[in-house]
Symmetry: C2
Subunit: 449 residues, 2 copies
């Protein structure tokens, strides 16, 4: 009993300071989503394992947290399964539910389940935790929040353009300088075509996706290992370092992909998205090698990086044409992006971008000098709260030093003192914690300041 309790590895408590900062990020993001007509959705933490299994590959299936059935969870297990310790078989009969692994599959499940009630195009955002039984390591958790925004049931490139504007708005409001990398799956398909290996699109994108990590030469080797011919690999290599600004890159790509109808369509789509999005505060860079893990996306591909912190991407997404197909509702196109809350938090923490208001919730602490003073204070505190100000009263008449330490630890900027003398004078003493300065003023004046 006297052992200090703890929490499962890879999970976290979010105390008051972290929570205030997280709420600041989430509410900034949600407000932007709402400006664009996106509406909130929440799905249950547990989904049926029939919904989750097989959607994330074998590795993903292994990382699903499974929830034990209530009651006789071995009801469906045969004696052979038990005697043979058939883990897969036993888990299958003992668990019908699992914790959600991402927000995308539950979203697809929701759309298919409620297809008759939904107003399409369906614009939804979802900010909820997900769970993965990953090996915990620095910056990787077993429980973390995803912030997804998707529109489903519309082919219009206006949606892509608005998502660009949304990324621009979010990072401008958060004060993070960013670069948006933008590509189109059709450009990747065009490259594979003109390189002479249209059947190797998946292998090609898997290889060039590593460009930043392993460099151009190693990508060439990887292409060869994945069965791309030497000639094709050389032609692909020419696309890995297209120099110049966006106009030059698009011009170069246009010439190189002339023979590929798909490739030219990709370029045209990309240009239209940038045109519709208009000028943005963030740097936008056309990046023909951007793939973001391939097979999923069918059109636009997005990735946002913070300029002032090396931390990988803080947002990513793209267009997919068959999200709901896995649940038997084919041919519904959608496009969406996901904001990485933990990384955004880390960037803002490192660059000290959290505004003061987002950190300090309480503005005034009223010191406690005893029963009589408390009554006078409580009336003032109540009036402040009615005016929309966050104020608290220290509940016990302990030593003033202890009360000051409390204000200090909680980051409360002002301590108000109303002792017997001040009650007689109709004044209060206000101490500014940052400077230690104390000022006496009429209570009225304080209340109206």
């Amino acid at each position: 009993m006297s052992q200090i309790p703890s929490i499962p590895k890879g999970t976290r408590d979010h105390g008051p300071d972290a929570m205030a900062k997280r709420e600041y990020i989430f509410s900034t993001i949600k407000t932007v989503f709402q400006r664009y007509g996106y509406m909130p959705l929440e799905t249950p933490a547990m989904e049926l394992l029939t919904t989750l299994t097989g959607k994330y590959g074998d590795e993903g299936d292994r990382l699903l947290f499974k929830v034990l059935n209530s009651g006789d969870f071995l009801e469906g297990a045969t004696d052979e399964m038990l005697a043979g310790r058939d883990l897969g078989g036993i888990a299958r009969v003992a668990c019908e539910k699992g914790l959600r692994y991402d927000l995308t599959v539950p979203f697809a499940r929701f759309v298919v389940q409620h297809r008759d009630e939904i107003a399409f195009p369906f614009k939804r955002y979802q900010v909820q935790p997900v769970w993965r039984a990953d090996r915990p390591q620095k910056g990787r958790y077993r429980e973390f929040y995803q912030c997804d925004v998707d529109v489903i049931g519309s082919d219009s490139l206006m949606n892509e353009a608005e998502l660009v504007q949304i990324m621009d708005d979010v990072f401008e409001k958060l004060g993070i300088r960013t670069r948006l990398l933008i590509n189109n799956r059709k450009i990747l398909a065009g490259i594979a075509e003109v390189a002479g290996c249209p059947g190797k699109l998946t292998e090609m994108t898997a290889a060039i996706d590593k460009l930043e990590k392993i460099g151009r030469e190693k990508v060439g080797e990887e292409l060869r290992e994945r069965g791309v011919s030497r000639a094709a690999a050389e032609r692909i290599d020419a696309f890995l370092g297209v120099p110049g600004d966006n106009r030059t890159v698009l011009y170069t790509l246009g010439k190189a992909l002339q023979e590929s109808e798909t490739g030219m369509k990709g370029i045209a789509e990309l240009e239209e998205v940038m045109d519709l999005a208009g000028a943005t505060g963030m740097e936008v860079k056309v990046e023909p090698t951007l793939a973001r893990g391939l097979s999923y996306y069918t059109g636009a591909i997005f990735e946002v990086k913070a300029l002032d912190a090396e931390i990988g991407s803080v947002t990513g997404g793209g267009r997919y044409d068959d999200l709901t197909g896995i649940f038997g509702m084919p041919g519904v196109s959608g496009v969406g992006i996901s904001f990485g809350a933990d990384r955004i938090f880390d960037v803002m923490e490192r660059l000290q971008l959290f505004p003061r208001e987002s950190i300090t919730a309480t503005r005034f602490l009223f010191a406690n000098f005893g029963a009589k003073e408390t009554r006078a204070c409580m009336s003032l505190v109540r009036q402040l709260r009615e005016k929309g100000c966050n104020a608290e009263m220290y509940p016990d008449a302990v030593k003033i030093k202890k009360q000051m330490a409390y204000a200090d630890k909680k980051g409360i900027p002002f301590v108000v003192m109303l002792g017997e003398r001040e009650m007689t004078n109709g004044t209060v003493v206000v101490k500014t914690m940052a400077t230690g300065e104390q000022r006496e003023m009429p209570a009225d004046e304080f209340m109206n300041s």
Copy 2:
């Protein structure tokens, strides 16, 4: 594959309309909490089963959702356990984690784990889902939100008084007329004393807790069944229907409990809490039989009922003196209340108390008449968004009837039309969906309205 997917029984999706209303409730409650200096806390969905087990009684232990260990979950299981289908033993070795059952035990665990970093008195609120493997039934779910607010590490009755003010503020802001029932565990102890059965406090409170449900006579029978003597049961009965307003009730109680020091202390505490809380908008009623499931509380006991909907209590709580004792940190007193989000939602839905703004997120839908018009619209939409207005543009140039149906289904109050003619004239046509009325006006005027 073509079977329509679904979700685990007892869980729910919260679509856009429900979410908007839920967010309205949560943000109202959180804002009030912050006014009083309470700070947010979030704990992981999964806790170690060593933290959860044994804290909610045998029935509670059965209702815990257990999460299967990753990897070889049968590693610790003996062949005998498996052959004998020892469910309890296997679950113990196969699952080290469970989903949280309430917010109180994780809060206690957090306080003990972080005792050295926390500024006491620690005022926290927590709004998160909890999970219980209860038999699903109308109004009872396996996943539901709790909204808890607690202060721990202070004996001051000022805390109780502020919680009364918090309940008053929350329900006033939500527009729900309520009655607060208030009691004190010490009054219950006093009743048991003067009735001559001080050792039967638990049995007595369990019986009189049912007063409203089963009536006075049946409570008498139940007292007898629980081993309370006939004479004591008769003396207890006199407390079950103390008539009159709060002053009269307190006066009657004061006379009846004169011989019980504990009882008199309870009355004094209750009077001080009401005095410190001051006038409230909600009806406050002293209810000497209010017990709320007994053994947990040591001082004040609160319960709030909605006046205009029969739905049980919408909030409840009280003072407890040894919450963290279960984790080896005894003697820390706290007081807290829990708002029932689902019931509050139901009351507001029934009484139609949700303000229009809380339901409709998007104010303007811009109709789509084609590529050229879209560009003109996007510029207007962007300006509106910059002004803080939620506006969206229909993404595809489909039949106007379909676009109107979308606005209708989504509850968007105004549709803005900007066709070729309006572009030439520099005007827009604004249609009010509720009345069908259409008005043409200069685009400038619209933007500044």
